[in-house]
Symmetry: C2
């Protein structure tokens, strides 16, 4: 028994040692995993910062603005009479400070005007309610709050209001409710409203100064750069397709991996960024190359055209990729050479025209050379059309062929959609229609 105990003790000690080692191992691996995660996260942060260093600057700018406003609290002699109201300056700074100058201006002005208008109306509402006696006052005020906040909320569904004054309407509702609900006397209210408004102005002014004078980020400039970037991406597609598909020694090989067949995709998804930048750019004063009343809305039209062009590119790209997946038949040599030369001219000159446009936009000069390249591209397209027109049978076959092949491309896309819905139905455990019909049958029978 003693031996047994000893053995079990030895076993226990051995087991304990083993367990300790195991624990240590687990701890080490956990630490390793944690370290890996931290390193991965740090790399991600580094990438975000490197992608656009202005983000780091913006973060420090927010810190700076907040610290500046906070210091106001400590400079007692200057702002002592404001008291708790200084809180509103801090609140304003946090909420109003946006990445772009236009965003900050939009929010700042919306906040200031929303507060002002709501303050006036609320004081008026208080006076009216006061006249109606002690009992009716709270009931009347509650009715006012209900009606005005409902009406203001509904106004946010008007697209124009939503685009430019959404934040102002929120602040309007907020201020009106706060003032209407507060049980101060009217003269006290006016003093308070005055204090609150001036602190908000101080907050907005601090934000604007930091955002305009410390590494400013102009929404207008970003919008201009976005348009230039889109033009360059479209040009890259033309250049890629020229060199990979229409050059003499072009092989159509390994196309799927080529970056030029992916580059137009970011253009397709640029609408949301463009809309918000355009909205903010309209609030900005003249700066750099951009004068007062710069035609910002026109960038949206240009963007829509760029996206249309990108979606045609998607159709072409998907056709070219399917073509390389099936064997590419050795085409009729003469016809092919002619068409190939014309295609090469079309893509080459279109690319040059787009590069010219983007260069002209970057330099803010008139794009005079682009039209020359464009004419050459159109001439090549027309030449091809005329040449083919000589062979009437071919033209007929061609029209039918294009429609048929675009349509069969659409069939492939629809098939992908069907598969996607199938996966969704399985993931979300949709019911089996037969079972449902059975259930209905049983219900009818019973």
């Amino acid at each position: 028994m003693e031996i047994d105990q000893m053995e079990s003790g030895a076993n226990g000690a051995g087991g304990g040692g083993f367990r300790l080692a195991r624990c240590w191992e687990l701890l080490c691996s956990a630490a390793g995993m944690l370290r890996g995660k931290v390193v991965g996260f740090a790399r991600k942060l580094g990438r975000i910062a490197r992608d656009d260093p202005r983000r780091v600057a913006h973060s420090f700018k927010v810190g700076l603005a907040l610290t500046l406003v906070s210091v106001l609290y400590y400079v007692r002699p200057l702002f002592n009479n404001w008291g708790v109201s200084t809180m509103w300056a801090v609140l304003t700074t946090v909420v109003v400070m946006e990445y772009t100058v236009g965003g900050t201006l939009c929010k700042g002005l919306n906040r200031a005007f929303g507060t002002l208008v709501a303050g006036f109306i609320a004081v008026g509402a208080h006076k009216v309610a006061y006249l109606c006696g002690d009992k009716a006052e709270p009931v009347l005020l509650a009715i006012f709050v209900f009606l005005l906040s409902s009406a203001a909320t509904f106004s946010r569904f008007i697209p124009e209001v939503k685009a430019r004054y959404d934040y102002g309407v929120t602040i309007f509702i907020l201020t009106f409710s706060l003032v209407a609900v507060s049980s101060y006397r009217v003269d006290e209210l006016i003093r308070l409203a005055h204090q609150r408004f001036s602190t908000i102005v101080v907050g907005v002014a601090t934000c604007l100064c930091t955002t305009i004078f410390v590494f400013p980020v102009w929404a207008g400039e970003d919008l201009h750069k976005l348009a230039i970037g889109n033009l360059n991406k479209l040009a890259e597609f033309f250049e890629g397709i020229e060199s990979e598909c229409f050059r003499e020694n072009a092989t159509f090989e390994n196309l799927e991996a080529k970056p030029f067949l992916q580059v137009y995709k970011t253009v397709l998804n640029s609408k949301a960024t463009e809309d918000s930048l355009c909205n903010f750019a309209k609030w900005e004063p003249c700066h750099g190359k951009f004068k007062f009343r710069h035609p910002w809305s026109h960038y949206q039209k240009l963007g829509a055209l760029s996206r249309q062009c990108a979606s045609s590119m998607e159709a072409l790209a998907s056709y070219v990729i399917t073509l390389t997946r099936t064997e590419y038949p050795e085409a009729h040599p003469e016809l092919c050479l002619e068409v190939r030369t014309a295609c090469r001219q079309m893509s080459l000159h279109s690319a040059k025209a787009l590069r010219e446009l983007s260069a002209a936009m970057r330099m803010v000069t008139l794009p005079s050379q682009a039209n020359v390249h464009m004419s050459a591209a159109i001439k090549a397209a027309k030449g091809l059309r005329d040449e083919l027109a000589e062979d009437a049978d071919l033209v007929q076959a061609m029209h039918v062929a294009v429609i048929a092949s675009l349509l069969s491309d659409l069939v492939t896309k629809t098939k992908q959609i069907t598969e996607s819905v199938d996966i969704l139905a399985r993931l979300a455990r949709f019911k089996n229609p037969e079972n449902t019909q059975k259930d209905v049958g049983i219900n009818v029978v019973s």
Copy 2:
């Protein structure tokens, strides 16, 4: 002279009468214009309300929630000890109340957790600063505010944080700055923080109750409906092109005015709505047909495929429209009949498959019939390909023809872009490059 005076007097009187009449006319026309504007505006509001009556319900819900919270102010015995803090309940209600349940939940939870975390950290910061003595305290607190708000602002650039916790981070910065800046003692702070947090909870709870129990608008349901709507729109395009282009008596006439060639455009622009609905849907509890952990992200994949399909449709639509603009040549009768029949089969069955998918999604059943239609469409496409493959010359011509015609379509789109940049350059008064070169030349000479 008297006569003169009299005449001028008469003139004056006549002129006065004339002026009065003119004024009256102007006033009338102004009133008429104003009336027209008011009527137009009212019609617009009516249209917005009719488009989605839930908007009206939402407006009244906001009014109701705000009135409920305001009433808390007046029920003195219950909430007397909260005092000014009740303001935070009103503030929370205004800011947190969103159109969808998911949006309100997202903002409400973000607000509550942001406040809680920031409150704890801020109290800790206060204790640390207090230990370092009277002089160092404000300096240390300012440094804390600067560092934490910069770091938190930078974290908003991480895509995952931006998508789900953006509002929470804003509230974190806000609360931390407010608490850090306030010059209360720590025990007083904790009492205040407790009050503030409970008022925020009351605000969030009021919002949630109103948003969930009074005509709830579920983001998940809207996302599901958006996907169904997109499928129906794609089906409509197939049906339209089948009836207008591939039927026996199809004329290809007046195609531009047909609605089916516009319907896919809303699908192309659905990404922003889809992303925000998907983000909110993830916050929602199970409701109606949707169980807990419904695969919401999959809707984004389905949406991306739908948009790809729509952009192929755009390419086909623009090709068909250009074709009708130039004369449509009478095509080779036999070939045309064969291809036309195949095209008709492809579009008919694709449309049926899409309708089947959308019906299955609406009923939340497995889309079993869609695969049958899809197979028929693919079979038609394959049959056409095989039939054409018999004539090797034709296939070769076809591939080249498709690429060439897609490319010439791209040239047309690029030309539109060139024109658009030209207009932009004129509107924004871009410089003439020659003048600039001259300027440079002069500068070099001087």
